[in-house]
Subunit: 493 residues, 4 copies
């Protein structure tokens, strides 16, 4: 419901982004875009079955077969004796039908990584850029954004047409680029970008409190003033059960915990997801605030740590998720590999209904009138982060209550940290603007701004850009490649 | 604890105003400035006795005797069988001693109204300005601010010296002027302006839900997105137990409830505190947002309703609290009139320990690690209200938790409402700036800006200003009256 | 030519508004919208004949006959022996044809005052609002804007289609509303609002210098730092031939010159255009800056001086231009009254070619590569006035040179003066926004904001608004009158 | 003269920075700080002798003897038959005496380069940073700022005391850091940063017009819309004698002129001051605006061109001014080398009075009431550059007239260029803030922000910082080196 005239000059984004559709806890319609997913959908199915509200889930996927398998699974789970809620599942390949009148839209899609991510990692590496993830910023992240934004603009347009008031949760990376693009296409959208990184960081703080202060805390007991942009969030206050954690954190930063060093050999056999937080401690020591996402993401934004290639990165205990890892660990919807769902459906594996612990269900519960709670969300800035541009998608805590997701006012940053953030906001805003009319040269300006790219000469940046376009042209057909001066000038395109 | 460099250029007020001193629930030291109060202190005494945390209260007052009586009462209440907490009370006439090392400072003082308020009401009335309250804006409110600000700057300076990290709660009107002046003197202060008006408005919404939707709600069930400045707050969203109240409010505004008219005779015998909300409904119909404070305050800011004198004001069901009322209903600390406390102490009246329902105790409880909750507070704007000036003291909801009072991001306003608010922000900021060096001519510029004053010629405004100065000169001795061109030019000074 | 990407987030108006089409001094095509004018066109004709550049003028008017008479006159003047330039004149009733490929567009139109202005003055007066001019702000000015903006949006759209790069000079009042609306329709327009008031004020300063400092100055020797919005401009610095005039101005303000008082009888027989500047001096004494437009305009914005009706206004030496005056002094294009042009054409009067002294010719000359000079212009704010909203049309000095009109950075205002200005900016921006979709209720919000209207109860404001609509409905057909709640609620519509 | 209250909230710098002291052309007192200079002073002496105004010059220098030699020369030149003005010269080692009552202060000082610049260049080079000039930004520039700012804060404080209204012209690099620090110490100062780079760029445009359009233009005929920060200025419009130069510039950028490449060998024997503008053309092709300072400066800010060391830089035709060059080409005041002045004084060389062509004399002439003109200046941003922070020292054109230097409103930037600029503004503002209390760790944050430094790991940046401190500790004694965590953590300090 729009109560007020929308000519408020103080806001570059018109969306309220805070109050939206009321959810009827007995009849919630969820449209799942990317409904063939082999991991997310099964989790959601179980969480919904264990929830306190009922409804319908429409699984939309270009791979309808995968969606149908998930729907079959979803309906089957309803029969489980532990299920407390009633949900029905349907599968469809028709986006419009899936969205029609939906109360909630979940966005979670992914392209084939062997055709996309692999190049995002390997081509920059050939220019000396050794990104840790290359998925949300840097040359690889920018290209992922360029592939994804046009599709998500179409999603936003379809939402405007078929379910304009729905709550839209975006899980697709790069979360900031993609969520911003949804608002750019449809400023009235109620879209929220969701991410796990901050939750894991809160786990970490709970563990510190338990280990060093003898507390018995978990994530829910941790309150930290999160602010920044997705994957480059910071905190300047942290409490566990009311106890100020800052003196401990300061001690840790300057003690053994915060000053470990690593050799490449140390990481050889470990998981890239182990996170010793050495980058975070180093940034804390230099800037006085603590980063609050995994180090593997932070280094893509605070690019000192990428200098010196593998050795430079490994020194901080960060192990790259390389292209081989990416290709191996992605289970495409159409894969022949047997998945949990198939095993369950075929009876090859016993099924045990259990909660995934995802925060989404808590959010939906609170929106439907259940318990209020505070969690981190990505929303256009309407003041919740002081000093970052109005309208840019920022990440902060928000209070979730019936029909509302309202950010907490997180304050600002000391200038040097704000400066680091602003450059990335400029990259994101420029790519989103360039995507409006598929202006490749405009996107290349954003590419040049990126601190990873600034370690190259402009001519090399142009070559790298052209190679990236060349390698994944099939995914860039919304871009006016033929009109691009940057491609005409590059040799390698 | 200050974690970060303070050169953030994006903020004109340096204070964090959100995170402050941790309270130890077993040992809280409260300094009460204005501790001879006959109403507030007895309420606090009982609330503390029934609370879950212990400590010490120092009652400071220029009238030490009144403070001593309250201290005696406070200590006596501890013996009550229902008391759950342990508190000790002392009285003092030494501000520095009262503040020394305090965890919490409560500010609540008042000047003799027959020497001050009475003129604030009567002199403007003689110029045709028929204010409803004349206590927080308009000519009377500006003069109250001019009397109060210098004293509160001294309080802020003493707090900086004796208890720089204390939580400071200001109850003294005009709350916006006074709270702003505390920050102007000491930007690092953790000061929060407190006010009841929004709580009463939430009661009202609960009553509407009960009467019209058959709910059984009270204030605590009402969630409304409060924003504005103290006594001129608005809401654009309201939920009761998760139910969107807006459709009902829209119906009420356009139906019988919202379109009543009154004659002076209708109000003759009623209390001025009865509030039929007709001004609020009229503003809602015109601007699309609903004011969220008593109509008697709103009309001082939205001055259409003051036009036409008594009849004009009464037409909306608003009855003035005139100078006679003021004089009669104020019980000075030194009054000979027997008060509750005296009656209790003397045994003339039976004492029954009961909670006052004040929100302050909930705030202190949450700060000390108890249950988190949301309530309205007045704090410098760091983004919680979009489109109003950074640093201006605004009123919004805040989440109160251990060691934190963090505003919720309330969004902005449609331009016309923002414009109404901005003029008053300009008045407030100008008076606060003028008070820095007692510049009377500068204060007169603020006076001229006020929409009530703009119904006069500048010459008449000058005369009125001079009469007001003349009538209360004893309370304005921090101002450089001798250097004032405006007074030299006026005939009546 | 657009050299740069236009996604600059820092600007709410995309237009450069500074650099535009190069003029070829031997072939300038001017389209004159309102070309039947009996005063402006003959002046222009003579100025062009005496200029140093040649070209063609297309006179467009709905009254083609009047335009034809002017064209005939224009072509005849070319034969004058003193003519130094070659111009040809044509008349047309086809706007598109007039604009096609034009280099310069002049906008100067007016509605029949007996059907419009007369009501703008008389209806507010019946509500106790005694405006001095009622033509650019206040209830009358807002209605003039409501009548004019839709037409000028169509002009802007036609310019976008037929001569997108042309220099557009708008002389039509209310200059700020109308110029702002041109940019709102076509952000790329090179439109400049032009006005005489500042020029007359510079004459006044020259006269002061001559009278009191024994100088021999004229307007061209006066340099003053103009800033504000049209008809509510101020200066904070003034030099005559390099001499700082401020000490003299300060003396005058506080001496006999600045402290005269008037009785209605003093003004009875005088012209309303005599301007003793008493309002300006009074504002200077109160705010420290000097208004820099005629007092009769200033009082419409600084509304203290309108209080107390005729007597209140006359006290400052300001005489109203009432509705009778308006009706009498307007010479409609189609009037039967013999004009200068007819007299010249018929040979009834001898013709003597002479310059009008209009600044427009100097502007065109500089744009065509002639001498650079500084004059006051109305343009969207891109920083030239600090503290007023970006995109609002403000008035400052500008340097005019070949193909450029570049504002000088005028600095900001002390807060109280900025506050007075901001309220009017909010009114203007709200009306322009409301006009986008003809939203009458939105326009009424702007009406309520106006300080003149704030002397009424909201109900009276509504009645007055409805009466104004009723009186000039024929000129408001772009507005959605049937959907207007404000009109439905008013009795008098 | 201060006409207005200074509480304008819209400005973080209170200074007007536009209007200042009137100069009496018959009696101008100039204080020259750095008056022993062997090049600047002799030039000034001759320009003054040929000017149209008279007065006194006080040459202040820590090396009094050098100042005395210059004074002797200055007084001798008065006898030249071509001298048109009367000036007297004195030398002093007493700063306060030199400044007392001065109308104009010129700031131009320099430290011994073998102890300072040499390290600024060589230490970063040892970390792989191959700066072209290393004098105004990058690690070397930041250290130059750290050495210079404390001294210039003292100059500003002395000016506040001895000649608060004087016009202050700062020629000392880094101009943006230093000018900003003057305002930080004394916000009321009338200080202007002066630089030649833009003038040389205008020469270049005149040459293009002459070579390609057959014009006969010089610098004075070129009008270009300059904006940015010193040494990183850009233009988006350029006219020569009213002819739009942009089509030509666009042709040149894409033709042979703009696409030359160089090998190190090509530059071996050339001067580093030859400027083929290849960096400028490349930036123009990528960003649509043209840089407008020497390429050797631009590359320090647009750091792609520094990648790849000497070869990378030389490829664009830019030759480094290395530490050997610096040491060789600096003529210290106390040098034994015979200078022009000595040769003239001794009669060893014939003296021929001639103008230096410096713009300063034109500025002083205009301020004293002579001809108005437009030139580039560095002033705190009060709106002249849209989108850069208020108060930051920016470079734009300004109109110089009697008692006024008023910037022209230059508009904003496309986002990517604004982003490049903002990072450097953040560096500058952070160093200036750090210098307030000598906070070395705060300064190191600025150092880390610099794009040249971001090519290192944080640990290497720390080492480099410590080495730089170590090498020039004698010049950093206003900094709290002993309290610096960054130095304690570094091995090399």
């Amino acid at each position: 419901m729009s109560h007020v005239h929308r000519d408020d000059s103080s806001s570059s984004v018109n969306a309220e982004a805070a109050a939206g559709k009321a959810l009827d806890s007995e009849d919630v319609t969820i449209a799942y875009v990317g409904g063939g997913s082999r991991q997310w959908v099964p989790n959601l199915v179980q969480d919904l079955a264990l929830s306190s509200f009922d409804g319908e889930v429409r699984l939309y996927d270009v791979n309808v077969e995968a969606a149908e398998r998930n729907a079959e699974f979803g309906n089957r789970v309803q029969d489980d004796e532990d299920a407390t809620a009633e949900w029905t599942y349907t599968a469809t390949g028709d986006l419009d039908a899936a969205l029609d009148g939906a109360d909630v839209v979940l966005l979670s899609t992914q392209y084939d990584p062997t055709e996309t991510f692999v190049h995002d990692l390997d081509i920059p590496e050939s220019y000396g850029i050794y990104g840790a993830v290359s998925a949300t910023i840097g040359p690889g992240g920018i290209f992922r954004a360029m592939r994804t934004i046009p599709l998500y603009r179409r999603f936003a347009a379809a939402i405007r047409e078929h379910c304009p008031d729905a709550w839209v949760f975006n899980f697709t990376n790069p979360v900031h680029f993609v969520t911003r693009a949804l608002y750019d296409e449809y400023p009235g959208i109620n879209a929220v970008g969701m991410c796990h990184e901050v939750l894991h960081a809160r786990d970490k703080l709970a563990a510190f409190a338990n280990d060093h202060l003898g507390m018995d805390a978990d994530r829910a007991d941790v309150s930290a003033n999160v602010k920044g942009i997705n994957h480059f969030t910071w905190i300047d206050e942290a409490y566990v059960d009311g106890v100020d954690l800052w003196p401990l954190l300061d001690d840790l930063a300057h003690g053994e915990e915060g000053t470990r060093t690593y050799e490449p050999a140390d990481l050889e056999d470990g998981s890239p997801f182990t996170d010793p937080w050495q980058v975070s401690w180093e940034l804390y020591r230099n800037f006085g605030l603590l980063p609050f996402a995994g180090d593997r993401h932070i280094v893509e934004y605070a690019t000192w740590f990428l200098q010196g290639g593998k050795e430079g990165l490994n020194r901080w205990g960060v192990k790259r998720t390389g292209s081989d890892f990416r290709a191996k660990h992605w289970t495409p919807a159409e894969s022949e590999q047997t998945t949990d769902v198939e095993a369950w459906l075929s009876g090859d594996r016993a099924f045990d209904l259990e909660s995934s612990g995802e925060v989404l269900l808590d959010v939906l519960g609170a929106l439907a009138g259940g318990e209020e709670f505070v969690t981190n969300v990505n929303l256009p800035n309407r003041g919740q982060v002081e000093g970052l541009e109005s309208g840019a998608v920022v990440e902060t805590n928000a209070l979730v209550s019936a029909s509302e997701i309202r950010p907490l006012s997180a304050g600002g940053f000391p200038r040097p940290v704000r400066s680091l953030l602003s450059t990335h906001v400029d990259t994101i805003e420029t790519v989103v603007a360039a995507a409006r009319d598929g202006d490749v040269d405009h996107a290349f300006q954003a590419f040049l701004l990126d601190p990873q790219v600034r370690t190259l000469q402009t001519e090399d940046a142009r070559e790298m850009f052209a190679e990236l376009v060349d390698s994944q042209e099939a995914y860039l057909d919304d871009w006016a490649l033929d009109d691009a001066d940057v491609l005409a000038a590059a040799d390698s395109y």
